[in-house]
């Protein structure tokens, strides 16, 4: 098999975007936002994944993610979140990809290594349902990218994206459930879920 090498951050970002797209499909399926019927089974990195069949939905996800690529490459995008909203448009869950691209040196690294690591994420997503309570019915979702900084010059490339309501970053406390983390020489990535509300801490410790 031919060894594909990732030469620079652009390659990593491209691979990541592809992966992100798959993850979004997979999450939508796992979190049961859409009826299972609209998904079909596919294979990505040799892992079975669910892939939406609706062309508009595919297009939406694809364009959103591919528009992100420059930002990811530049390291501007710090976190990418899939935000699930309930029927009243109140966020109930955020699945967050927190990433940090590394600078590649030398001849680059074989793509297989990264793919291997990313496979773990896909598998973890499959089983994440068990760690999370089910979403309420009639959910909608949106994609949110958290930027470190937004430079003006590439705004034209990403007309697709609109600035989010700053109120979104409310100070409301939330609980973090980790799904998967990865450290590699390409990028560090963490996948976790934020849900509003803090579980009551079990203060079972009595003074001795």
């Amino acid at each position: 098999m031919e060894v594909v090498r990732l030469a620079d951050q652009g390659d990593v970002a491209a691979l990541f975007c592809e992966f992100l797209e798959v993850c979004i499909h997979q999450l939508l399926s796992v979190r049961e936002v859409y009826p299972p019927a609209i998904f079909e089974r596919r294979r990505y990195f040799n892992v079975p994944v669910q892939w939406a069949r609706h062309p508009d939905l595919r297009e939406y996800i694809h364009s959103a993610v591919s528009n992100l690529q420059t930002w990811i490459q530049q390291g501007a995008a710090e976190k990418i979140a899939i935000k699930f909203l309930d029927a009243n448009q109140i966020p109930v869950e955020k699945v967050i990809f927190k990433l940090c691209l590394k600078k590649l040196t030398g001849t680059g690294l074989p793509a297989q290594h990264l793919e291997f690591a990313l496979r773990g994420f896909l598998l973890k997503i499959c089983v994440s349902n068990s760690a999370l309570p089910p979403l309420p019915p009639d959910c909608s979702w949106e994609l949110v990218a958290y930027m470190k900084s937004l430079s003006a010059d590439n705004a034209s490339k990403s007309q697709f994206w609109i600035p989010a309501d700053p109120n979104d970053r409310s100070n409301q406390s939330f609980t973090i459930t980790t799904i998967k983390s990865m450290r590699s020489s390409y990028l560090d990535m963490q996948l976790y879920v934020e849900r509003p509300g803090v579980e009551p801490q079990k203060e079972s410790k009595t003074e001795p």
Partner: protein, 1139 residues
């Protein structure tokens, strides 16, 4: 090579030629100089352009000379002159006699003028002047023009190269007057306006008295000599000598000052060519300033000399000295001369002096503290009248009635900001924060004086001495402003007037005072009192007073808020009374609305606070910051971090959050108007929280560099850098200052009425003493557990959980409870009255302890005793009278170990008092450090009865924190070590001690000093550390270490794998040390992982939970580590980790 260079040269020349003529001025003289040098080297290969220009100039000259000899022109030019002169009466016959009036003057005309370019040429021809077609600095003496474009107005120096820019009317009028008039009034209006200084200089340069005396051409020939002299011998004397050569000095009238000004002009012009060592240059400046002190015209000289480095040609050289470039000590020097820095650090100084004040004025303060009844509050606000000026002016009587302002520099551009102005100056409209040039425009006679920080310090100290003498509750707002709470001290007005007169006597500076019932009103009253007055707002007058007040006069109402209020038609405080609190809060925010509402009613609930805890320490430099390459910036960060680290160390605090602020030049904005200032900037700031509090320069530097690089700015655009450390903790404790503050309040509120002032003062100043608070608290902590829960002494496992609290985040309430317990003990010591005994009795089940629980007589601090109220003193004497027969050593509580509870209470109390005694008495390091060691019963019971009294509270060696030991002064450490050795020798180890003391000490030293960076290296450092340690207690960790060695697996996996072993390894005995090690191990691991691997953090916590179910050790660790982990997750991710 040479050929290439020349080509380049000619290209440059062409470029220069392509731009409009005016623009080319700046480069012209340099370029032509270069041209000529090239020509000398190789005349054959000179560029065509250079030759062309030279030829052209030569031709024009010839032409001009021919013209000037052409008498025919005379009539025509005379007619022109008549046409344009104001009087319009020119007698043609006189022309011939006055035809040489412009001798020595050479003009160059820029742009459109009336009379025209050509006419002016004729006039010059006619009257003996020279007309230059092309601008050359060396040849032209005056620039003639009527209008200038904006770009040139902004930077007239680049255009004029120091030459006067004059309107053409000057020529015409001079001809009409038959002599050369002073050109000063003819200066181009806009330049004169924008550069008021320049006019004064130039009038010195060409004094009106010298109007009739034209400046001969040959003066220019002399100046290289002067500048050479200046360069070699920088004594002002030489200037004066040199001045004799200047032809203008033939005039008897003007003083040397004026000549000096001329000389400086000359110097300045040549500076560009000469290598000037800027340091020397500034030396001359200073000497020049000194020399001219007191002379009326000194401003002119100073102006001129400053200009050498300040503005003119030598900008580059000046930038080198006055910026971060090239000056390695920039940061230190910067802070040496910064007023803001003075004000900022003054507080530290004040607080460190605070203690000594109270020693002096104990008696008085005592009264204040006892008298605290419910009568009307009275607050005095004292504010020195224009402090910064007054202090300087008091030694210079000649300036008393003159307008004076303080400014760090008096540069010719007037770009320095005025920091304070006296009242005569304020009458002219001069305000603080104004640029000097604006101020001079308003008040041409304004005297600018430099800071005198030493004098400020002296005066401030004197003032505060007086304030403290009169009142115990002084809130220092700044070095020249303070609030005094004089409730129940008699007539506040009288106190205030006494204070004012004393301040004047002591410092010869005046102070104004406002007196009223709260801080707000007192402050407003001061405003009315100023200058040098006293104003009292009686409670009955408050309403009337407030009604009159405009909203912007309220403190806290700035420009923005004022405008907002105005937009709601709220102009006066009486308007504010009309609107509801709800409305205000809705419109302006809850806090501001509340403030406005109560201020308008004259309500101010803020107390006069004695000292505030400082929340941050940092340093910021926004002036003179210029970098060329990233290395410059990094070098700068080194010095900045050193400065901050020094400040942290001086204040004896460490901080966890490091913030870097960077000012970046706003895109498109040019060089700022303030010399080396920051100009228009965008502000950026980023911060990072480090795992543990630090004051180390290396860590600060590392984080600062990291943050700085994360901005990824072009360093050339950086105009200011600030480094700030927040979340401070007192050195030697794990408690944040916040916690300390809580305790402090508790202590204060309790102490205020009863205990001696000395105690309180120890707790008041923030930086140093919060450490003491924590000490008291910590030393009593284990005791509380024991006292409160009535647990037998000898269960080592149980005192364990509380001990490592110093490293974990602690609940404030808990602290408070502990502290109250400590207080009650202390109270009992000081005033053992019945009420207190009841309180003690509540917490213990036993009856009140016998008086034998008092500390030995030898340990009482005489100074404490001296400051006690007489009745308490009498009681103490009584008690000690009974005890007098007892030998000093045996009065220790150790002998009372009869019933556990009573013993605990007793021991608890005694120790608290011991600690407090210690705190009072010891001046050296032992005060801060020794009580840190937790005093445990185990140690005391094993202590021989004949311990020397000094180190009576010596904790067992096992409880010593080696890091504390190592931080002790050498002499002290030796003393302690000897003491331990002595004990060791005297008393054979009891069987209860598992490890002999010195050995243990040694183990501990190696383990806990090296508890840092446990996770560095592969395999991590701790693996070796714990493996090698033969201590049985580390068996837990040994197992772990064995598994970890050589493993590439994450720690959580390793930990899980050792789970079965751990359960066996766990015994009943767990020492604090092991817990500490485990804690550190996990803590550092989490810190390392938190940013990049949340999953692992979650995993480790889950594993820990499982392990905790099996092992007591790990349960304790888990309890302690969980809040920490949740805290750090909250910091990094803003949420709560689900474990």
């Amino acid at each position: 090579m040479a050929g290439e260079e020349k080509e380049e040269e000619s290209l440059k020349r062409k470029k220069v030629d392509n731009v409009p003529r005016g623009m080319a001025w700046g480069a012209q003289s340099f370029a032509s100089a270069r041209i000529s040098s090239i020509r000398e080297k190789d005349p054959s290969s000179v560029s065509d352009f250079g030759r062309y220009m030279a030829e052209k100039r030569r031709k024009l000259n010839v032409q001009y000379n021919e013209d000037s000899s052409n008498k025919l022109l005379n009539n025509a030019t005379a007619a022109v002159a008549a046409l344009h002169s104001k009087e319009g009466q020119i007698v043609v016959a006189e022309i011939s006699t006055k035809s040489r009036i412009f001798n020595g003057i050479s003009i160059w005309v820029d742009g459109f003028t009336v009379p025209t370019h050509q006419e002016l040429r004729h006039l010059m021809l006619q009257y003996g002047g020279v007309f230059e077609n092309y601008f050359r600095r060396e040849l032209v003496t005056h620039i003639i023009c009527s209008t200038l474009p904006d770009s040139k107005i902004k930077n007239p120096r680049s255009l004029s190269r120091g030459l006067p820019i004059v309107k053409p009317e000057w020529i015409v009028d001079s001809i009409a007057a038959g002599r050369v008039l002073s050109w000063a009034p003819y200066q181009l209006q806009r330049i004169a306006l924008e550069h008021p200084n320049q006019r004064t200089l130039q009038s010195a340069y060409l004094n009106p008295k010298l109007d009739h005396c034209p400046l001969p051409l040959d003066w220019r020939d002399n100046y290289p000599t002067y500048s050479n002299m200046m360069d070699i011998d920088l004594e002002p004397r030489s200037e004066l000598l040199a001045l004799e050569n200047v032809p203008t000095s033939d005039n008897q009238g003007p003083s040397s000052v004026q000549d000096g000004a001329v000389n400086f002009t000359l110097l300045e012009e040549d500076l560009k060519g000469i290598e000037v060592k800027a340091d020397e240059c500034s030396e001359t400046e200073n000497q020049g300033v000194l020399e001219s002190h007191g002379k009326k015209d000194s401003v002119a000289i100073v102006d001129r000399s400053k200009r050498n480095t300040g503005a003119g040609y030598s900008d580059a050289a000046a930038a080198a000295t006055h910026s971060t470039l090239g000056d390695d000590n920039f940061v230190q020097n910067y802070f040496k001369s910064s007023r803001l820095h003075f004000i900022g650090t003054w507080r530290n100084r004040y607080q460190s002096r605070y203690g000594s004040f109270n020693d002096n004025s104990e008696g008085q303060d005592q009264q204040v503290f006892r008298a605290k009844s419910g009568s009307d509050p009275a607050v005095i606000h004292i504010d020195m009248d224009c402090f910064f000026v007054a202090v300087v002016v008091r030694d210079r009587p000649e300036l008393h009635d003159k307008p004076v302002a303080v400014c760090h520099s008096d540069s010719v551009r007037g770009s320095g900001e005025i920091s304070s102005a006296n009242y005569p100056a304020r009458a002219f409209g001069v305000r603080a924060g104004m640029f000097v040039r604006d101020a001079k425009a308003k008040c041409p006679d304004l005297e600018i004086v430099p800071y005198n920080f030493e004098a400020y310090e002296q005066v401030a100290d004197k003032v505060y001495n007086i304030l403290h003498h009169h009142c115990g509750r002084v809130q220092a707002v700044s070095c020249d402003e303070a609030f005094l709470d004089v409730t129940d001290q008699g007539d506040p007005c009288q106190i205030a007037s006494v204070i004012r007169s004393q301040i004047f006597e002591a410092t010869r500076c005046t102070a104004s005072a406002g007196v009223s019932k709260n801080k707000l009103l007192a402050r407003l009253a001061t405003r009315k009192a100023k200058p040098n007055g006293l104003y009292y707002i009686a409670p009955s007058e408050v309403e009337g007073f407030m009604d009159e007040l405009a909203v912007e006069d309220l403190p806290g109402v700035g420009w923005t808020l004022k405008e907002k209020l105005k937009s709601h038609n709220l102009h006066k405080c009486s308007d504010l009374l009309r609107v509801s609190k709800d409305f205000l809060q809705r419109e302006f925010g809850v806090k501001t609305g509340d403030m406005l509402w109560s201020y308008a009613r004259g309500i101010d609930t803020r107390e006069v606070q004695q000292a505030q805890i400082r929340k941050s320490i940092g340093a910021e430099v926004n002036w003179g910051v210029r970098f060329l390459v990233p290395e410059d910036a990094h070098r700068f960060l080194v010095t900045l971090s050193t400065e901050v680290a020094t400040r942290l160390q001086t204040a004896a605090v460490k901080g966890r959050t490091i913030t870097l602020k960077v000012k970046r030049r706003k895109e498109g904005s040019g060089e700022p108007s303030k010399f080396m200032g920051c100009g228009v900037c965008d502000n950026f700031s980023r911060s990072e929280t480090v795992g543990y509090a630090t004051d180390s320069q290396e860590i600060l530097l590392r984080v600062a560099k990291q943050l700085f690089n994360s901005f990824a700015f072009d360093v050339r655009d950086v105009r200011g850098v600030g480094l700030q450390v927040t979340r401070l903790e007192a050195v030697g404790s794990g408690q944040s200052l916040k916690g300390g503050q809580g305790q402090q309040r508790a202590l204060k509120s309790w102490l205020a009425p009863e205990i001696s002032k000395v105690m309180l003062d120890e707790s008041a100043p923030a930086d140093r003493n919060s450490g003491n608070q924590t000490i008291i608290h910590r030393s009593t902590e284990p005791l509380k557990t024991e006292a409160g829960e009535s647990i037998p002494v000898k269960s080592p496992a149980l005192d364990v959980p509380k001990l490592p609290l110093n490293t974990s985040a602690q609940d404030n309430n808990d602290l408070h409870a502990v502290f109250t317990a400590a207080e009650s003990g202390m109270r009992n010591f000081i005033a053992p009255d019945t009420k207190d005994r009841i309180q003690v009795g509540r917490s213990s089940t036993k009856a009140a302890p016998p008086p034998t629980n008092l500390p030995p007589l030898s340990e009482l601090d005489p100074s404490v005793l001296a400051s006690l109220p007489p009745e308490i003193l009498a009681e103490i004497r009584e008690v000690y009278g009974e005890l007098a027969a007892q030998p000093v050593v045996s009065s220790k509580p150790a002998k009372n170990y009869l019933s556990p509870v009573a013993v605990m209470k007793g021991a608890h109390k005694t120790k608290t008092s011991e600690v407090s005694n210690r705190v009072d008495r010891r001046e050296d390091g032992i005060r801060r450090v020794l009580p840190l060691e937790p005093l445990t019963e185990r140690g005391e019971s094993s202590r021989p009865p004949s311990v020397r009294p000094e180190i009576v509270a010596l904790p067992p060696a096992s409880q010593l924190d080696p890091s504390v030991m190592s931080a002790l002064p050498l002499s002290l450490r030796r003393e302690l070590e000897q003491e331990y050795k002595r004990q060791q020798v005297k008393k054979p180890d009891k069987s209860t001690l598992r490890v002999s003391e010195p050995e243990k000490l040694c183990v501990e030293r190696c383990s806990s000093t090296s508890l840092e960076d446990l996770w560095t290296g592969t395999p991590p450092k701790w693996v070796h550390m714990f493996k090698e340690s033969q201590d049985a207690e580390f068996s837990n960790l040994c197992v772990l270490a064995e598994h970890m060695a050589g493993a590439v697996r994450p720690f959580s996996v390793v930990m899980l794998s050792v789970l079965p072993h751990l359960s066996n390894a766990c015994s009943a005995t767990v020492s604090q040390k092991v817990i500490q090690s485990c804690m550190e191990l996990i803590k550092q691991y989490v810190q390392q992982m938190i940013a990049c691997d949340l999953e692992e953090v979650c995993m480790i916590m889950r594993v820990l939970k499982r392990v905790a179910a099996k092992s007591q050790l790990w349960r304790v660790v888990e309890d302690l580590i969980t809040p920490f982990v949740q805290g750090i997750v909250g910091e990094c991710y803003g949420g709560h980790l689900k474990i």
